[in-house]
Symmetry: C2
Subunit: 596 residues, 2 copies
């Protein structure tokens, strides 16, 4: 059954785990990203000065647009005049430099006006999409419509060139995103033509053979191998893919298109049963930043891009709205506490683009006689990267985090993700305020009180069960639901090479990992006692919970190979949440550990 | 104490394991390699025709030279008029095309005469070295000295240009080999100037900074980072390295140079305690075909080049002569039955350049949306490759295999490697014929009978002990020594990532492996019962022994991740000798298996 999603606009995160992260976002992250984007010329690029010292990149518009979108979410919640001033400046630049036809892309206007809409992989519609999303968010936050008006002019031009005249060098975008943006613009304006254009881009895709992206990829890399409705497995570049699947779900919902819905369900199941790290990370190879074959989930070379984690949540959230099925909320939880959260440092200043599940430091220096690097993922987060799609994506994702908490329908309210919050619903004309208190993920204890009598269906976390527990709230009377939060050893599917003979440790939704600085010897030589108790502690330096387990280390005799002695040394191993790794410099790290 | 090595000239392999392989060499391999070299233009290249349709490669001379050397060994043992005719043809071509100064290299004479001796990495001295070795071998086999005379003229020119005039573009060779050849030429001719030139190339190396090979390597890649005497660890390209270390050992022996000897001992120990696969394979990365850091021994991407295995035996054999220490013979045995023998198919027709220790077939097709290959090693042997150094190296190595069996000194005879054979010694003027009978490596049972009273020190294989057992033979009386041959589970050093939590199985000197076609399910999901019995069998199709062990398979429930159930399915796993893998098409394969 379809659910409505309660927008973050109606949800205030009031305390606890996610409130702390939103505070860091507002105080630190949004400014840290702004500063690095300013320094690197990304903001000045909007001046479209072809003689500027720094040449813009084709995807810089999207970097800034995502940052604006995130900043708009912050403004929506609480005034931020400085942010507003910055954004107004960008909008003025766009107004000044937008072509008379409506086209806007800082790179193409400044550098290659002759190549507008000629190259499928040059991210023009992707940038357009992010600008549209930013414009809508900014209008919703401030009431200022100049930005969105400029973008509507641009969209009209896009519609004219791509759908009406059809004289562009390609038919559907190389990197999806505009589809999502057009749905959003439709919702904001109510104008069906935007939805129609979104549908056009979704349904035309894969109908005819457009040029393969480059000579190093095939059509599946950008989800153009077959029509959307016929797609059943997750293929290609994982960010493009999840954005596309999200837009498929959008259209399925808005059009009541059961074929598209069916395709989305198959693709989603393919991801979570074959192609996902335990952290919810997806896209297991750096080559094409792509999905690969089933069960191919290497740990040290895991790509697991931060933007793909975010894209997967977008997809799941839309599937939750489309079907009301719990598994989508379960998946969101998995990504949130692991593969998403690992992408940002605890201090909110630096970011992972790639989120490995294992670091063996010495492997980074194995080539001692040749100048070759295995291109293993970086061992620490960076403040900005050349391709800096992830940091502003994290800004907008955390800024709108509240949208993930609640859905609702005629039966009542569904509590999907746990966070201390105050939420305002309007269900069948009835205003309901719901207050939630929880220390999740410290424990599973949730207190609810509402302004009206209402049933709240509380999601039982995946590790505890497969149902929603209905709580019948009487106005003004607080009720509490509580479960024991288990710590568990987790095994991978026998078809996964990288997890064979190993276990991971999860406490509730949080995947734990070992870091070199907390443990002696090689991490890969630690074997967790499979009957271990779990000792729970707290790391004051990191400010995160810890788990200590009984383990063995294999004792060596110095020889390279010897008859099996089975000599072991008893030891203990300390683990921290995966999301907190790499906050103490370069370290060995592993999620999956041998057991005995 | 120094040992003398009994040359293969005085050893006839009369039966058993190695006799069968030498028969295949004579009947099949030497012709298979000839045919492919002929087809690919390698023989015609000696005509030095600059207008030839097929352009020669800079290292083709060495390919043919190694083949000639191998063919000469066969001729030495038993007439092969056809081989002799082919070789005479090549020698005639060399005579015809050798420059008046003595220089000969088919590529440089035909294609780039203006660049002679200008580029350190163009393998001229490497090719020269192999031609010299071939010439000496051919002279020793046939008594024909034309080839060696031509090469002496060439060496005189090399000496003039490199040592006397010093006007070449480099001082020491980029790829070592000529050092070994010059020592051999010295031994053949008795002329000290050849030894002096060998010593020059060995000792000058690393004294001053010569150009690094290319922009992708550093000086250690070609063992030029420091002087030979100061080297303590195995570095760089593993074939170059082992050839160089072999020549260091040669000079150490001939000059009584204890510094060089000490360097060799340190380097050898570094290899066998830090940088060697259980198969005796070395050089763990394809990037530079090089040694890497300690304990870096990945299995699936193991490079472990066939020529490097051969080079390591060359080095060990010289160290055995230099020191008389058993560990060098132990290492030779490890390489022979594993990393060397895997390089040639059971039918003798095709070859591995790279010898992986694990094949996961599905990983070869993981990139489904981009045109990218992880460059995993080929899963089957090829008849010839572009860079075809290994096949003819295998020919000459197997052809002179008899040289590995016996050493001797004033104390008596040392039986180092086991093979049914008839060997003729001249110890202090006394002629001794020793007849050995054995089915090794089927069992450790060796019968010896000699023509004179003599003490034979039989090497106790590494897996049984660390000594030589003296057998006092009375002329004409056969004595037999017998040990139980153990089958053992072997563990790797705890610092090795790829062997953590795993065991390998060895029976005697032979490493075993699992192949996909013999076992159900993913090999990496098999866990050997650590208390298993070993059931010994025989695979008729392959003609090799087999071992069957008790094992478990993890049972899955279909989910990608689940709480640890520890449900196992009892199974059995079948193993075959590692040297016999990849003789039944493409297969999953692994040497190291999980255990429980």
């Amino acid at each position: 059954m379809e659910h409505k999603v309660l927008s973050f606009e109606n949800v205030n995160i009031t305390g606890g785990f996610w409130n702390a992260r939103q505070n860091i976002l507002r105080e630190t992250t949004v400014w840290a990203v702004y500063k690095r984007f300013k320094e690197t010329g990304r903001f000045d690029a909007f001046k479209c000065d072809k003689n500027a010292k720094i040449k813009p990149h084709i995807y810089w518009d999207s970097d800034v647009a995502k940052w604006i979108e995130g900043a708009a979410y912050l403004i929506k919640k609480s005034p931020e005049p400085e942010l507003e001033k910055i954004i107004d400046g960008v909008v003025d630049d766009i107004e000044k430099n937008q072509l008379p036809c409506g086209y806007f892309n800082s790179f193409y206007i400044a550098i290659e006006p002759q190549n507008i809409f000629k190259n499928r992989d040059c991210h023009e519609l992707y940038c357009a999409g992010h600008l549209i999303e930013a414009a809508v968010a900014y209008a919703e936050a401030t009431g200022k419509t100049k930005f969105v008006d400029l973008m509507i002019k641009y969209v009209d031009y896009i519609e004219y060139r791509f759908k009406i005249k059809g004289d562009t060098g390609f038919k559907t975008p190389g990197h999806e995103e505009i589809e999502l943006a057009l749905v959003r613009l439709y919702k904001f304006t109510g104008e069906r033509k935007f939805l129609d254009l979104a549908r056009f881009f979704v349904l035309e895709r894969g109908k005819e053979c457009e040029n393969a992206l480059t000579d190093w990829s095939n059509e599946s890399y950008l989800q153009s191998h077959i029509e959307a409705k016929k797609q059943e497995t997750a293929m290609g570049h994982s960010v493009r893919a999840t954005y596309f699947y999200s837009s498929m779900a959008d259209i399925a919902l808005l059009d009541g298109d059961t074929e598209l819905k069916g395709a989305c369900e198959k693709i989603f199941d393919d991801i979570i049963t074959h192609k996902m790290y335990i952290t919810g990370g997806i896209g297991s190879t750096r080559h094409g930043e792509a999905f690969t074959i089933d069960y191919d989930l290497p740990t040290e070379t895991a790509y697991s891009e931060s933007c793909a984690a975010i894209g997967l949540v977008f997809f799941a959230q839309r599937m939750l709205a489309l079907t009301g099925k719990k598994k989508y909320a379960d998946l969101i939880e998995r990504v949130l506490y692991n593969g998403f959260l690992s992408s940002i440092s605890l201090d909110g200043k630096s970011f992972f683009y790639v989120n490995p599940l294992e670091i063996v430091k010495k492997n980074h220096t194995r080539h001692v006689s040749v100048n070759y690097s295995d291109n293993l993922p970086p061992m620490t987060r960076f403040e900005v990267f050349e391709c800096s799609c992830c940091p502003p994506n994290i800004v907008r994702f955390l800024g709108s985090f509240g949208s993930l908490l609640y859905t609702y329908n005629d039966d009542g309210i569904y509590l999907q993700q746990f966070a201390s919050s105050e939420a305002k619903f309007n269900i069948n004309g009835k205003e309901i305020t719901l207050v939630e208190k929880t220390s999740y993920p410290e424990n599973v204890k949730i207190s609810l009180v509402s302004s009206e009598d209402v049933t709240v269906f509380v999601r039982v976390p995946e590790y505890l069960g497969n149902s929603y527990v209905p709580i019948n709230l009487t106005a003004g009377i607080e009720k509490t639901i509580e479960f024991e939060m288990p710590t568990m050893l987790i095994e991978g599917n026998p078809a996964i090479l990288s997890t064979a003979g190993k276990v991971a440790i999860m406490r509730g939704p949080v995947v734990y990992c070992m870091e070199g600085c907390d443990n002696e010897g090689e991490l890969f030589n630690i074997r967790i006692n499979k009957d271990t108790d779990f000792i729970h502690g707290f790391d004051k330096e990191l400010g995160v919970p810890t788990i200590t387990v009984d383990a063995y280390m294999k004792k060596g005799n110095g020889a390279l190979y010897s008859p099996m002695s089975y000599e072991r040394q008893k030891t203990q191993a300390k683990l921290i949440p995966y999301y907190a790794f790499a906050n103490r410099g370069e370290n060995d790290m592993q999620v999956w550990t041998l057991f005995e």
